[in-house]
């Protein structure tokens, strides 16, 4: 099977590979967001599974247990769990990413307990004492896993896991690098599938797919210049192609992102030297998410630069013509961050379209006019 076909299948049949591994006797641990180190789970021999929702399935059962003013991504995940879709999980781990995820952990735990359940506290502040605390939290997490498995963590296996995930990070960056071309030979829709497909399979398998995909894309002939605008996406969870496809259908190339389902989860490597747990704590804590607060740095302009400077690089290197924010509604920290980032990008003369949405494909069509008008405006 070709790489795009395998990716398509994994993307469509989410969880199928993890379920098969579970049925074959492997242990699968489900987790949320970008703060749970895959490396630790892998070193223990678990298959890490990043829990996803479903934008195409209405949320019904969860409404009886979780308030509708909670983040619809979280509600959707919980809804799938209630319907038994995640019954193959042998463990459930949530980081204290935000109010909603933290509260949902308790509700989930109470209604759908797994053989292993754990909540990792993640500091909202960034700084040396936060690194130390998070390191302690990871050590406690490790001790809980040791208790659960009855075996000690093997430091060699942890180092191996760090290396393999860094390899995956390297390859994903390389794949993203191909999007710098104008026009790109790989679409945002394809990239979304590659990322989502990899969320529930062992890293080694994902690495093979990404390598094959890179090879495949490199063989594609360079498309003729089309003058279509290049779009940078910012927001939180986009684990369905519906939105990205809509933007591309309206006449644009989605070329770069800062999403927790995109560059955020793989952009930075874990240091391979020194104490591995400390390296993991440092790496995972600096994940870009509005739920983490960088200490104020200088005046407003300097502070925005300190917070969003990395996005300036993305914009420059991927030659973005416009930015679209896709905020899953009820995310307080994104809703506070959005206007700040908009100010920053507007200063850089980059047009911004800010969209707040319900994480549902049934309403995504209503965004068409907004997106198309934005593209007409920036052309």
């Amino acid at each position: 099977m070709t790489a795009p076909n395998s990716i398509e299948e994994l993307y469509r049949e989410r969880g199928s590979r993890a379920r098969a591994l579970h049925d074959a006797g492997e242990k699968v641990i489900g987790y949320f967001c970008c703060f749970v180190p895959d490396e630790i789970l892998t070193a223990f021999g678990f298959v890490p599974f990043r829990i996803q929702g479903s934008q195409s399935e209405p949320i019904d059962e969860a409404d009886a247990l979780l308030e509708p003013m909670a983040c619809p991504f979280a509600r959707s995940c919980f809804n799938l769990a209630l319907k038994g879709r995640y019954d193959f999980l042998d463990g459930f781990v949530a980081p204290h990413s935000c109010d909603t995820i933290e509260r949902m952990y308790h509700i989930w735990h109470s209604n759908k307990p797994s053989p292993f359940n754990h909540l990792i506290n993640v500091p909202h502040m960034l700084g040396p004492s936060s690194d130390s605390f998070f390191r302690k939290e990871l050590e406690y997490f490790i001790s809980r896993l040791e208790e659960f498995t009855g075996k000690k963590l093997d430091p060699g296996r942890l180092q191996d896991a760090i290396r393999i995930y860094n390899r995956r990070r390297f390859l994903l960056r390389e794949l993203y690098g191909l999007r710098r071309e104008s026009p790109p030979r790989v679409s945002g829709t394809e990239i979304t599938k590659v990322l989502v497909a990899g969320m529930g399979i062992p890293a080694a398998e994902h690495i093979e797919l990404i390598e094959a995909m890179i090879g495949e894309v490199k063989k594609r002939p360079a498309p003729a210049p089309d003058g279509l605008p290049r779009i940078f996406l910012w927001g939180n969870e986009i684990d369905d192609v519906a939105f990205v496809s809509l933007v591309e259908e309206c006449g644009a190339h989605v070329v770069m992102d800062d999403l927790c389902t995109g560059s955020r989860f793989f952009w930075q490597d874990v240091s391979e030297t020194g104490d591995p747990v400390e390296a993991l704590a440092k790496r995972y804590l600096c994940t870009h998410c509005p739920r983490s607060l960088k200490p104020q740095a200088g005046d407003r302009k300097e502070d925005l630069e300190n917070r969003f400077g990395y996005i300036r690089e993305f914009i420059r290197e991927w030659k973005a013509d416009g930015a679209i924010f896709y905020i899953v509604r009820y995310c307080d920290t994104c809703e506070l961050e959005g206007p700040d980032l908009k100010e920053y990008l507007t200063d850089l003369k980059l047009p911004v379209l800010m969209i707040e949405d319900d994480y549902s494909t049934s309403t995504i069509g209503q965004l068409r006019t907004r997106i198309q008008a934005f593209l007409e405006m920036i052309l």
Binding site: Q366, T369, Q372, A373, M377
Partner: protein, 276 residues
Amino acid sequence: MPFAGMDIGSTMTKVVIADEQEKILASHIGPTGAEHRHLALKVMDETVKKAALSFDALDFVVATGYGRINVPFADRQITEITCHARGIRSLFPSARIIIDIGGQDSKGIKLDETGKVANFVMNDKCAAGTGRFLEVISETLGINLTDMGDLALSADGFVQISNMCTVFAEHEVTSRLAEGAGVAEIVAGLHEAIASRVVNMTRHLGIEKDVVVTGGGAKNQGLVRAIAGKIGFAVLTPPEPFITGALGAALVGMDFYSRGVRPAKERKKEEVTFFS
């Protein structure tokens, strides 16, 4: 040289044919709606007839509005935001802000000095701040939708309506009636609420002169007055607010044409199937 613009809204389909002087040669309005899908084409035919032209004589056809996507005989599909901006720019070169209040949504559009869209906002997918909100409440009150604006103008003060959720607002209206509030004052309160919502949304763009109110809402003098009250200065309204989107579409087509763009494919004069 005739250019046609077709604006397929949620309730009405509007067609304008304009020439290269930006002069309207003909316009026609007909109903949209699931049961009327064939009527979109009929509105086009009617307009072509009014202009004493043949369909094939049209140099460029642009479709806009909610139903723009599947118009088989259009050369381009352009959003109503770009089209409203273009239409208003032709009618009011001084316009900087456009407030379009339609049946299903409302929009604020900012134009730069050259009349190009600089920024825009659209209301959320709830009915608040749209014609639909007034429609629902007019049914509750048993008043003709078209009489609502004049009723609001006749009111002595207004009753504060704080709920913008249509269902809640219905409750609120019923309670206020039960408390003995006057119907005209309640209707005035509803207009205040919509104006507040729409103007506040538009404030995001930075409001500056001139402001043009268009779309179906511009026909409602009570609403126009409430909007002007919130903004703090008089607003302009086009003589025929329903057709500014279609006019803009025709002119966008003209702009394409003058840039050397020609219809790429043969137009299929088929029914519009956007409700399939």
